[in-house]
Amino acid sequence: MNQQESLSISSHQLSSSLNTAQKFSLTFIVIGIIIQLLYCIGSIDIQPSIILATGFGFIIFGSILYSHYQYKGKTRGIKNDKVWFNSLTNRGVWAWALGIFLTVFYVLLYWFPQYLGHSDNGNNSGLIKLFDPLSHLLKGKPTSQWFVYGVLYTLIILLLGVKFIYKYRHNRYQCIRTLSIIFFQTMIAFLLPEILISLNLPFNDFKNIWPLNYSFFYSWHIDEMLQNGSFGIFILIWGILSILVFTPILTYYFGKRWYCSWVCGCGGLAETAGDPFRQLSDKSIQSWKIERWMIYSILVFVIVMTIMTLYTRFSGKAEFLIFNSYQLSRWYGFFIGAAFSGVIGVGFYPLMGSRVWCRFGCPMAAILGLIQRKKSKFRITTNGGQCISCGNCSTYCEMGIDVKSYAQKGQDIVRASCVGCGICSAVCPRGVLRLENGQLDIRERGIRSSC
């Protein structure tokens, strides 16, 4: 008997911990952070633009390199190994730690920015000061906490978007969709408004549509638009057309996804930063019930609030029946705008999944969902009898839709909440699901459903 000399195993498949290249990339990120830190505690005193270039440069370069090496040795395909063993992605200690960290961050950001180093006279310190160089470069003044938030948000969508593209590089739908998200966040949500401000025009994020952008019809905002000549009027008309014309038309042809998983910033963060947590969404029928109650209640809330603010603007009166417009908008801003969409929506990613806000809260999603379910060509069709009821689709649906329960019966999936992310179709090992824009339901198509 001859002993087996060489067992051909390509080692890259077998290394589980970080490989050297990944550690190398991490070094860049750490150096970038250290540079920023040193600047912010004041121990280095050089040109802010150099800090900016080196600090952020190292961080960005390092993370892209990291994503590259994370997936480089792996074959093209679905990469969900060990998701439920990993403490971070299975509500373990790390998930709680991250959840608490994010929640605290949001609370500080919204209500106690001074603890992040914000100072009203521009003498920023701490985290906020880190962003001063960039702020000086872009608009020549010190950072506000919202600028910090905007930069972090954009950076995260950009970097984790790149990671997402590496992860799903075999899937063109996912790649193109993610490029779209990155484009809308960096260009339309971040850069364009900064440019507008530097041109002395009012700040505007053109893709942020009422009612997600709940302050659009606030009195001060209407004033701002009216005071800015034809450009202000353009913003006003664009905003109204967006919700009354663009939204119904696009949703009719493509479903809710054109916005929720291609354009929207909240959706964008959920799809990139939230991707590792999508499996945590609750799939029970109970939570579906809660979802419907909550999201439509908030829709009603935002409509009533908006009507009231308009009423106040035109009549000068704050009270109508039991409503007080100032109180309503204050409550909405606090409970829905900040607490729900920010603190719970993002802070709870590692515990409740990535789309808590989109699923239970967002009034824009409610409108899109109603159109999607009642009058849209979008649906997910199932492929005859190929479903093996494995459950991957339901598990990885971030909106908590029990996709399997439809697929195993051979039914089309037409659900108000589906954001068309296409992940169910991507993870299905039997090629059962396809997102499509076609009118007829499976029953009308006269196709035998398998069981």
């Binding site: 439920w84 063993f85 005859g384 093996i388 009821s389 494995c390 396809r434 076609g438 007829l440 196709i447």
Partner: protein, 443 residues
Amino acid sequence: MKVVIIGNGIAGTTAARYIRKKSQHKILMISSECEFPYSRTALMYIYMGHMKWEHTKLYDDQFWIKNRINRLKDHVIQINIRNKKIALQSGNIIDYDRLIIASGSQSNNYICKGNSLIGVQALYHLQDLHSLEEKTNNGINRAVIVGGGLIGIELAEMLSSRNIPVTMLVREKSFWNNILPEEESQLINNHIRTHGIDLRLDEELEEILGETTVQSINTKSGTNIICNFVGLTIGVSPNISFVKDSELKLNKGILVDSHLQTNIEDIFAIGDCAELLSPDSGRKSIEAVWYTGKIMGKTVASTICGLPTEYHPGIWYNSAKFFDIEYQVYGYVPVKDPNTDSIYWEHKNGLHSIRLVYDKSSSIILGFNLLGIRYRHEVCEKWIKEKYPIQNVIENLSLANFDPEFYPEFESEIVNLFNQKCNKTIRFSSSRSLDLVNQFLNT
């Protein structure tokens, strides 16, 4: 009336669900594997950490209560046909009016020295998965998988997801080449190897060595491989030992007629454990696949609820996944058949292929074999069932494409191949929209 179902796999579960849809019968479903029906096909994903067991349950826990389907976790050891009773391991006796046997398969054993050492196992039941998990936790230095079938390759993927080096011994000269035509089989060989699996073709297990636990194995060609885990995946056969001594007529499985009834009135057999006396043409007498269990469950439910229904599964299809490559087959795809010819296209990256099989003399389409590409079941089925000529299929090929949006369409390459081969000048036009598919299906 009281219907008792032995087995809570997909066959038993589907039967129960449809009996409830159609009647008020009492339903009792017995299984010794687990309390809640789950998807056996998802076993691999549990081990790889894609899902937890709860995610693979066929229905949520409320479903069974709402539908008044009683479940019992126990093992049936005997059937008393004359008194219409079954005996359980717990000592309980249960009577029935109608009995459905849906006991599934069991893994075939490999007859060789050392096959009962600790470290040797198969993969079929949940219990197998638990024991695999335990062995993984104790440390597997190398795993040897014996057998090149669908479960074997799944096991290889599972183990390598846990960074365990895997050697696969496959008796055939190429992976699954008794089912896959040569080119596809070669493609999969390569794919398996790019995943770091030590794939040994034309190689068999001779013996397993060790005191109480596995220490190494010898192959028939005389190689010794050091390993402490041996996965036996050499196929499955009907799990019918508990009815061996009854009056039920058996062959490999429990013999049933086209109504899925056994030789005894009021006793039916469905799923993996059933063997058809006269299967439809193009179908086998035992087909251990998921969807046939489903169709049988639905069929038997109709019969039991007073509407005698024959079992006709239609045109053959199936699917699987080999690591990253999805596989779908529709219709007749022979390894070799001189009466058929085929158009075969393969992507140069070795991840996609399409094969269309047609009858040589009549040019009628017979089947589709797809790797790394998704085709729409209903469309392929209609082409085959209605005997479309190959040229017509080729002209409209993208109707069948079911890949996600924006995926490259390779159908034009098939058209070119066909033009070359048959001296035609067909022009390819993409028509991947659902509306066109609907039009086609409704004509």
